[in-house]
């Protein structure tokens, strides 16, 4: 009918005007009344519009948002003008939050499964239940496990933990209840490789904060600054400044395996062979030393002041006085002396002259920052790649310097309403509770140096090693889609009682026995201390824009409500904790003694402003001396003693930046036993180790995050789907980017449906023949190919992780997503 009506309108007009469809016909000035008179839409009476402060929930950045609500409907989201990360600005995802709130596919309330069979083709046949019944089901299971001495068989897995009122409650829950598996995070499928590299060298197992605006040179390894690196929105703001407004433009070199917007916008794009970032960094270090470009103030110098770094020649360690670093000469003698640009060209395929030019710029156009993420470290040699890259920062003295990098300070939170230690019963205190975790993180049989190994938990459960889980609850994570070798998690979910807390359908929910749907982020009262940003402390707060649209409950309150139903003192603890608002009120008490720069001093002012922060970053290294910020003098002028530096900044055994890692040496025997073939001589220094590629194919398979990736929701956001540009994305599809030479070899044409195969499995995609990717690399963005996510995601896109073999970096535990090799053929 719609079509008919429209066509009639046009035909009638053409008859009336007496002209045929020539474009110029309109010049005949006719007065025509449209055939179908439309209802005149007058300007709608403006209701009262309320703007409330919240925090975006679509990536880790935690941008403050201003949420516009009129007549009870949220209709617009813009960056919060008073927020240090957002500064009134937005990324492409931010605005789509209104859709997320009203997504018609959302769960409407708690539900339980009635179909006992589980599988992709088994409809769970969910039936709605009341919250009280749902919570009691969980509590009954948990109480029973405790009675059977099996509380360790309850696990919580979580993804984007936000703050004290959600993920922050989990550890206490596990302690009081008696399970080492409450809770298991997702860092090992995220970016724990960079944390481990930093931990091994400067003692901080964390991501860095950055002072980009004062840097003159950025060297980025596999951290897609303009599409995926956090905090994305602020990175974009930084970019506008450093490339368009800063009096002297910041020089940018970008290292990746295919051309994306960051590579395109940079001064220099180095497209290297996957997994060889460390070789490039080592060669850059070689040039910095041989050309005498290291920072004497931070690193130190030869006693006689004469540069003895000559390619291939060993040096007497006694000849060099090191200042804030440890082991430079040992590193040189064991590794760097032979890591020439020519050598690196052979490994990386990047021409030696470009490596030299990059290194000279890095050493001269300072301050310089070398930053890295997944591209560099999601490989078997990831920690060594990361250590080599991070060591460049030490060589040019960028650590804690203006225009350099630091580490995020914590926020001034108050204490919890009651102390959990007072509510530990004999069961919780019993030595029987000391069980290995299901993921064997921190265990010598598993990944002794890793903090979390979510990707191994499914297979460990299946193998009953160390045991199997009885019940697992999931908060903002969906390992059946996001871990390599997804089959093991898919099987695991069939043989445990699964509780999903997502507001949305998803693959974990499809396999779940119980759905306890959370609010979406626009409905929550929830804290979110900052992710590493510029180092100064900051804590954000979401305030609800509207009452919950459906019968949902904030995950933090779900935990507390389950806790109240656990028998014994644990139940009493949670009765006294009361609810998440009470928790947040107690956190905000910390601001009373330490008010923020914006006047936030209690819960009410925190709610009004949506953020508490205190500038500036407390520490700075100036020409090899460390200082703290002097509030009165408004300068970095309080000198720090070496012990303070060790305690607060360079947290290694030596209190220095360690090119020779005491942390790795401390686990030498374990590491060498677990990684056959690793050099015993070099295992503690940044060095080149061939990556172990997996899957047995003939082309590297890279699955990047795209700009529209909204923490797992983007493949069901119709507006995001439409904008999935520009390289491997492509509106309706997400394409597999293939170089013409590989396509020709396999007889694949542009737009062909192709099969991607590895030893782990196969997946299908639509080919896009493109010169943007290397001849030895195919690219397919992750987060697509969902099988139970919603109406827009259905039957669209390709799931990457089912062709990625389960292999992790033995030190960091980082899943080796980018080690995958596949074979592509016409389907």
């Amino acid at each position: 009918m719609e079509i008919l009506k429209t066509k009639v309108s046009r035909r009638r007009f053409l008859q009336a005007s007496g002209v045929a469809g020539a474009a110029g016909a309109g010049y005949t000035a006719l007065s025509v009344t449209p055939a179908a008179t439309r209802e005149a839409h007058a300007q709608a009476a403006a209701g009262s519009t309320v703007v409330n402060k919240s925090i975006c929930g679509q990536c880790p950045a935690r941008c403050g948002i201003d949420v516009y609500t009129t007549n009870g409907k949220v209709h617009a989201i813009y960056g919060a003008t008073n927020h240090p990360i957002a500064n009134g600005k937005g990324c492409p995802k931010m605005h789509l939050g209104t859709y997320i709130l009203y997504d018609p596919d959302r769960f409407k309330g708690p539900m339980k499964r009635t179909n006992p069979k589980k599988g992709r083709d088994e409809d769970p046949k969910f039936v709605p239940i009341k919250w009280d019944e749902a919570l009691q089901i969980v509590a009954d299971r948990l109480n029973t496990l405790r009675e059977k001495n099996e509380s360790h068989r309850f696990a919580v897995f979580y993804g984007r933990g936000w703050g004290a009122s959600c993920a922050g409650l989990q550890g206490t829950f596990g302690k009081l209840y008696g399970s080492p598996n409450v809770a298991i995070g997702h860092a090992s499928i995220c970016a724990t490789g960079s944390q481990a590299a930093k931990s091994a060298t400067d003692g901080n197992g964390s991501y860095n904060s950055y002072d980009y605006k004062n840097a003159n040179n950025l060297l980025m390894f596999g951290a897609n600054f303009l599409e995926a690196f956090r905090p994305y929105n602020n990175n974009l703001q930084v970019w506008g400044y450093i490339r368009g407004e800063k009096p002297v433009k910041t020089r940018v070199t970008y290292v990746d395996v295919h051309m994306n917007t960051t590579a395109a916008a940079a001064d220099r794009a180095l497209l290297l062979k996957p997994g060889t970032d460390g070789a490039l960094a080592l060669a850059i270090a070689h040039v910095l030393l041989t050309q005498g470009l290291w920072d004497r103030n931070f690193v130190g110098n030869f006693k006689d002041g004469v540069n003895q770094f000559k390619t291939g020649e060993k040096i007497d360690p006694a000849a060099f006085n090191e200042k804030w670093t440890k082991g430079l000469i040992e590193w040189w003698n064991l590794e760097l002396k032979d890591r020439t640009p020519k050598w690196a060209e052979g490994v990386t395929t990047i021409p030696a002259d470009q490596i030299i030019a990059t290194a000279v710029e890095f050493g001269t156009v300072r301050p310089s920052i070398a930053l890295m993420e997944r591209g560099a470290h999601t490989h078997s040699n990831g920690v060594y790649n990361g250590m080599a890259i991070h060591s460049l920062n030490a060589l040019v003295g960028s650590l804690f310097a203006e225009g350099g990098l630091g580490y995020q300070q914590g926020q001034s939170y108050g204490k919890m309403p009651v102390s959990a230690d007072d509510f530990m019963d004999d069961y919780a205190k019993s030595p029987d509770r000391k069980k290995p975790r299901i993921d064997l993180a921190g265990h010598d049989d598993g990944y002794a140096m890793a903090g979390t190994m979510i990707q191994e938990a499914g297979q460990n459960h299946n193998a009953k090693k160390p045991y199997s889980l009885d019940t697992a609850m999931f908060y903002l994570t969906n390992p059946v889609m996001s871990c390599p070798d997804t089959k093991s998690w898919e099987e695991a979910l069939k043989t445990m009682y699964v509780i999903d807390t997502s507001p949305f359908p998803g693959e974990t929910a499809w396999m779940a026995d119980l759905i306890l749907p959370d609010h979406t982020y626009l409905e929550r009262l929830q804290d979110a201390p900052t992710y590493p940003f510029q180092g100064f402390p900051m804590a954000q707060l979401r305030t609800p824009a509207v009452k919950p649209v459906h019968d949902t409950k904030y995950y933090g309150d779900v935990l507390i409500e389950i806790g109240k139903r656990i028998k014994g003192p644990m139940g009493e603890y949670y009765k006294q904790v009361k609810d998440t608002e009470n928790v947040l009120r107690h956190m905000a008490k910390g601001f009373e003694a330490d008010p923020g720069d914006n006047g936030v001093k209690d819960f009410e002012s925190w709610k009004k402003e949506g953020v508490w922060y205190k500038k500036p970053y407390a520490f700075r290294q100036i020409r090899g001396e460390f200082f703290m910020w002097d509030k009165a003098a408004k300068s970095y002028s309080i000198p720090m003693k070496p012990d303070d530096v060790k305690k607060d900044l360079l947290k290694t055994e030596s209190g220095k930046f360690e090119f020779t890692s005491s942390k790795l040496l401390g686990k030498k025997d374990w590491i060498l036993a677990k990684v056959p073939g690793r050099s015993a001589e070099k295992m503690h220094i940044p060095h080149w180790e061939e990556p172990k590629y997996t899957g047995g194919g003939d082309v590297h398979f890279i699955s990047p995050k795209t700009a529209m990736h909204a923490e797992g929701r983007s493949s069901n956001l119709p507006h995001a789907i439409a904008l999935n540009q520009p390289t491997a994305g492509g509106r309706k599809h997400n394409f597999l980017e293939i170089h013409p030479s590989y396509a020709a070899k396999k007889g694949i044409g542009d737009g062909d449906r192709v099969k991607i195969k590895s030893s782990a499995g196969e997946t299908f995609a639509v080919a896009r023949i493109s010169e943007l990717t290397r001849p030895d690399v195919v690219v397919l963005p992750f987060g697509q190919g969902r099988w139970a996510m919603g109406r827009w995601a259905k039957d669209r896109g390709s799931h990457t992780d089912q062709v990625i073999v389960q292999q992790s970096d033995r030190i960091s535990g980082m899943a080796n997503f980018y080690s995958a090799m596949v074979t592509v053929e016409k389907a």
Partner: protein, 252 residues
């Protein structure tokens, strides 16, 4: 009266498409029917391929060919220099879409760009093409603002529902000024690298004029004589943002 215009600095543009999504949600656009698109271009070969992009709103031309061809005078130029469509007068003949050299006009197609059809999920009331649950309070058919009715052509309005409320005589609608932020077009307001500026081209002292002068602003397809009121700054050429001067602006 102001003559509103926009300046887009391609040296700062990151191709992130936040302009597109901010516009989509502010103006209740159907997925894929973007008033504001970012077009991507791929050329060259490994190891040195070229990727570039071009952000493209309506140019709000001084001499809009779309307006000249409109048989019902539905397309008109406001006193403050904005090209709008009166949906009550538009008959959906699409002549304007043919006449526009920039491809920035939209007819709500019967066939959705993406399945399932979002118009069937959020059914429009009356003759409105759809009814998104997050729709804003503004609906003004005479200025082509709000949800697009069936059977008409729509286009970027420079967020007329915002800019038309700006205090008279303002040289620039600068989002960093708290007093002006609500009057700034969505794409300009959100642009994180601040690649977009919006101001009065008739005011010689406006920042947009200052930028056009200092950085030699250029207009897309200037030879058509349309005289766009959107200017591009091309900087030193090291940026990813670029003017596709010799290529089609149709989305690939």
């Amino acid at each position: 009266m102001a003559k509103w215009g926009m300046v887009i600095d391609l040296e700062k543009c990151t191709g992130c498409q936040a302009c597109s999504t901010a516009c989509q949600m502010e103006n209740n656009r159907l997925p894929g029917e973007n008033y504001q698109d970012v077009l991507f271009y791929k050329e060259g070969k490994q190891p040195n391929p070229t990727l570039s992009w071009f952000p493209r709103p309506c140019m709000h031309c001084e001499e809009p060919s779309c307006m000249h061809v409109c048989p019902t005078k539905a397309t008109f130029k406001t006193e403050d220099g904005v090209v709008l469509i009166d949906w009550n007068k538009c008959i959906g003949c699409k002549y304007c879409m043919i006449a526009c050299p920039y491809g920035v006009r939209f007819y709500t197609d019967e066939k959705p760009l993406h399945e399932p059809n979002i118009k069937a999920v959020f059914k429009g009331e009356g003759d409105l093409s759809w009814n998104p649950p997050y729709k804003g309070p503004q609906q003004d058919a005479t200025h082509g603002v709000g949800i697009q009715p069936n059977g008409v052509v729509s286009k970027c309005t420079f967020c007329y529902h915002k800019i038309s409320k700006a205090p008279k005589g303002t040289p620039d609608l600068d989002e960093s000024n708290p007093a002006l932020v609500e009057f700034v077009p969505a794409c300009v307001r959100t642009c994180a690298p601040k690649a977009r500026y919006f101001g009065d081209l008739d005011n010689p002292k406006s920042q947009v004029n200052q930028l056009i002068s200092a950085k030699k602003g250029v207009r897309l397809l200037d030879h058509t004589g349309n005289k766009p009121q959107v200017y591009y700054l091309t900087g030193s050429g090291a940026a990813g943002g670029a003017i596709p001067s010799n290529r089609s602006t149709n989305k690939a």
